[in-house]
Amino acid sequence: MKVAMTQQETLKHLAEEHVIKPAMFEQAQALLLADDTDHSPWYIHALAGLGAWISSLLFMFFAALTGIVKGDISFVVSGTLLLTSALMLNRINAPVQSTYASQLLLVVSLSGHILLSIGISMLTDSMAVVSLVVMGLSIVFILFYLQALHQFLSILMFFIAILVLAAESHALTLLMPVIITVLAGSAVWFWLKESHYAAKKQAAFYHNLKYAVVVGLVICASLLARQVRYGFGSTIDMSALTYSLTAIGLFFAMVYLIAHILQRLCVNWKSVLGVTLLLVTAFLSALFYQTPAIMISLIVLVLGIERGNRILIPFATVGFIYFLGVYYYNLDVTLLHKSLLLMVSGLVLSIVGIVFYKNNQGE
């Protein structure tokens, strides 16, 4: 069994192949040996984040039950106090990076967000105002709160606030295609330019941004997959135009992605391969235009493969399977038509795959 190269061996190999300069090799070695960076995988951050969310919700209920926080003004004041404390204490903790302090501050910050949002909602009786406040808070915390998990959550909160604002303005059906197209385009852009942003000073921010954009895209996809339930008892019906425009936007995002990959691999997009991929993309976009979530899963999957990312690929695969199941419940097309479309498209794709397979074996 071949053993993977250690990190040291990998750096040495890169230096020997003249991919990196000897000075860079020595610097990298020294940094590795110091090893003060956090290598923890995503599920450790998820565990910490989940714990913080649950704790902050429990504290919030505690505050409401005991009357510590009573009335709209006290919600706003206590929320603001907690947020200010979290921001200030985070600057003190930043050099030390104590896990316990980071977790506690995350709980304090999230509790502050919730309390302030509830207070403003009670004061103004307007979710639009709450959304604007959340967007403002998110920007402040992205800029000044030095913690990766919180930055990620702030970016997500910003996206969700945009969606709520759009729903409050009764413009969600119109804006959804725009939001999804922008998110899909941003996801493609940030992931394809990953190396460029990794070299920048704000590398940590871009790292969180690229994941948050993908999660935001999936949230929008989930909203589109079912009738949107908003508020208490009301629903927002997505029109056929919403789905069609979204499908067109996603088609162009996928075409841009494929064009970039073909250019990187020095393959002419007018070649048989390029044209086949374009036709397959158009076909799949048309087939699943009423469940754009499926196209979104495919975009994320191709992005994951192009960047060799082992988080995107399984999530995109699971998402694809789930949204294919949701397609079953699409009532605008009969089950017979859906089944025939799927079988024919499956056969066509399989035949194309077999042709490529045989060509590849021949080469």
Binding site: M24, Q27, L47, A48, L58, Q103, S339, L342, L349, G353
Partner: protein
């Protein structure tokens, strides 16, 4: 390391490089060249393999889904022989393709998977047409047994997962059919839990034993991780149920089973396999059960006190768990670094 199922770019772990890039500093172009050299960013030949995998996987997946949708539609209108002919032909054609291509190729493995799924559909059709009156568990167990030889020869993890899911459903439906007043909160459903644990445990042991021979890459870990998730969820649910219902029947054996399961999993995946995901799952289970115990223990206290104490406890214990996991991750990375 190579994985014979998936193209090679996905087996290289370059996550440790990203935090270094801005600190060295490396330019964006140099870093991209590094990723290309390490094979993380796929080359033309790697992308060719991926393209074939995507087209065949997507194609076969859509085709199979179409067949399932087809049989869900207006089933009554079709004559029973048409149904059997179509399904039977599907099973035979898929099996022939698998035989022709062999189980060492992706096409052969996908064909075998299709044959396995269609076998289940065929059995379901038989039961529906002839109204055999068989219980659900008979259908699922027959399906699992029928495809077992294919599952063994396929050496294809997605098919193993399908077979395992079918077998698990067979046991659960068996519980529903044979245990009177089947209720997840009754004690006699522990037979079902034990049966599920035994099944998943045996599959996990087999998988880990064979993995040393066949699959060596990190990506091959998803299947055993899913099994561990099943096992952990089962024993955790049992303990939570025990705490919530205050059902003290066989309490010592229940606690012993829970502790033993976690100890075995932790021991193996800490000392032998070094899989952080499993350790995180074990910690998650301990957090869940201990929090449930804490809330039950404070049952007679005021709600506000329960909320406060639980909030503090969860914040503290998740921070502790995250800290332990980070330390482990660092130690395993450093160990790899200095070898």
């Amino acid at each position: 390391m190579s994985n014979r199922y998936l193209p090679s770019n996905i087996t290289h772990d370059a996550r440790w490089l990203y935090p270094l890039v801005s600190r060295i500093p490396l330019s964006g172009e140099t870093f991209e060249a590094v990723l290309l050299k390490l094979g993380v960013v796929p080359s033309k030949s790697t992308w060719q393999q991926w393209l074939i995998l995507l087209l065949l996987g997507l194609g076969s997946g859509l085709f199979l889904t179409g067949i399932v949708f087809f049989f869900a539609y207006n089933w009554e209108a079709m004559h029973r022989f048409s149904r059997f002919t179509l399904l039977g032909a599907g099973v035979i054609i898929s099996s022939l393709v698998a035989f022709w291509q062999g189980t060492k190729t992706l096409l052969g493995q996908l064909a075998l998977t299709a044959a396995s799924v269609l076998t289940g559909v065929l059995l379901a059709t038989f039961g529906m047409v002839y109204q055999t009156g068989a219980d659900s568990y008979l259908f699922f167990s027959s399906w699992a047994i029928a495809i077992l030889p294919w599952v063994i020869v396929s050496r294809f993890q997605p098919l193993w997962l399908i077979a395992l899911m079918v077998a698990n459903i067979a046991i659960i439906t068996w519980g529903g059919a044979t245990i009177s007043q089947f209720d997840l909160f009754r004690d006699d459903t522990r037979q079902v839990t034990l049966a599920l644990l035994t099944l998943n445990g045996c599959v996990l042991v087999l998988r880990e034993m064979t993995s040393l021979i066949h699959i060596s890459s990190e990506l091959g870990r998803w299947f055993p991780r899913i099994i561990v998730l099943n096992i952990t969820a089962l024993v955790s649910f049992d303990i939570v149920r025990f705490i919530v219902t205050e059902s003290y029947l066989d309490a010592p054996s229940l606690i012993l089973l829970y502790v033993a399961t976690l100890v075995v999993l932790s021991g193996y995946y800490l000392l032998v396999r070094k899989d952080l995901w499993v350790i995180a799952l074990v910690m998650g289970s301990l957090i869940l059960t201990s929090t449930t115990g804490l809330i039950e223990g404070m049952e007679s206290s005021r709600l506000s006190l329960i909320l406060f104490v639980t909030g503090v406890y969860i914040a503290g214990v998740t921070a502790f768990a995250a800290q332990c996991l980070r330390m482990l991750s660092k130690r395993w990375n450093v160990k790899d670094n200095v070898q």
